[in-house]
């Protein structure tokens, strides 16, 4: 963490007029709030913010429209969080019982001891998937389990791309509603 922190600090000290420096200073609070929606551990939030900052330093010049910058920053922060959570899920660094006490992740966890992706919540989402109407379940399964894009799903099912997206959206909305109920019920 400290090495990455030094990169942005060193850059800010040696190139204070760089547009990325002013942008990061202005948007840091909003970026950290976005990150904290997914990750609550303070050290991880710092790491992820610095990871985003380095990407801003390297790629800000690719954003042509100044009005699109904030949306671009939000995408960078969100993608960094999702990659972090996917990696954490596949490579846990501590036994599950310690993770549930220590790995407080995001507002969606509500309580400091909750784990965002507990085994119970994953199982609950999978059960909710099984309860979806067959057309919605099938579309989501092809997307998740086989990695087909929307055109691929459309060809497989013999329907239009628009119909695929309607099924995916309806199914995902149902799963989101079910997950919100689960979180409110602190499962």
């Amino acid at each position: 963490m400290h090495a990455v922190l030094a990169v942005t600090d060193a850059f800010a000290a040696s190139a204070p007029d760089h547009p990325a420096v002013a942008l990061l200073a202005r948007e840091e609070a909003a970026l950290r709030r976005t990150i904290q929606r997914y990750v609550r551990d303070a050290a991880s939030v710092d790491d992820l913010f610095q990871e985003v900052a380095v990407k801003v330093l390297r790629h800000l010049d690719t954003v042509r429209d100044p009005l699109a910058v904030r949306g671009w920053l939000f995408q960078l922060a969100r993608n960094a969080c999702l990659d972090h959570l996917r990696h954490a899920d596949r490579h846990p660094t501590a036994p599950a019982e310690l993770l549930s006490d220590r790995d407080a992740t995001g507002d969606l966890g509500r309580q400091p001891g909750e784990r965002l992706l507990s085994a119970e919540r994953i199982a609950a989402v999978r059960r909710a998937l099984a309860e979806l109407p067959p057309s919605q379940r099938e579309a989501i399964a092809l997307r998740i389990d086989e990695g087909l894009d929307h055109d691929g799903i459309a060809r497989r099912l013999g329907i239009s791309r628009e119909a695929v997206e309607v099924r995916l959206c309806k199914g995902r909305n149902r799963l989101r509603e079910r997950l919100a109920e689960i979180i409110e019920g602190s499962l």
């Binding site: 190139a15 949306g71 969100r78 994953i122 998937l129 998740i144």
Partner: protein
């Protein structure tokens, strides 16, 4: 194209597709501009993301390609300066300059042993159009090199005067 300001009811139908990976900021800049400013829509999207993470949690991990760390230099004296910095940092790393326009590759530092895995050189667009700045990082040591600094004077140790080291 300037994004047109959107309201929550315009963005909410897009959230499942954003979580699905079908829509990125470049596709819908107005939607992402709204998300950047709207706590409510961010929370809804985060729920969709959690669904996506839960659904894919059992999927096999995709292989991750190791990142190549390559120093790309465009100015001869910046290449020599980077080699001096490598010696100063006591880094036994070897880098290869990738010279375009028909110039031959050059190895800037001798490989004195196994290349440290924590050495990284970032090429960052400079503050002026068409310029670059190099950020060399090894562990906790960081050096920023601005090739636009012309003909730097050197101190008694051979380090360019004015070069910041952290």
């Amino acid at each position: 194209m300037t994004p047109h300001p959107l309201a929550c009811e315009d963005v909410e139908p897009l959230l499942p597709l954003i979580a699905d990976g079908a829509i990125a900021a470049a596709d819908e800049p107005a939607a992402f501009a709204h998300l950047a400013a709207c706590e409510r829509c961010q929370e809804q999207l985060a729920l969709h993301d959690l669904v996506e993470l839960a659904l894919t949690a059992a999927a096999p991990a995709r292989p991750v390609r190791p990142r190549r760390r390559v120093l790309r230099l465009r100015l001869p004296w910046a290449a020599a300066l980077a080699a001096s910095l490598a010696a100063i940092l006591a880094v036994g790393w070897a880098v290869q300059a990738d010279r375009r326009a028909g110039m031959a590759d050059r190895t800037l530092a001798e490989r004195g042993g196994p290349a440290p895995s924590d050495t990284e050189v970032l090429t960052v667009p400079g503050p002026r159009p068409g310029t670059v700045v190099y950020v060399i990082r090894r562990g906790d040591q960081v050096v920023v090199v601005d090739p636009q600094q012309q003909a730097p004077a050197r101190d008694e140790t051979g380090v360019p005067v004015g070069l910041r080291r952290y």
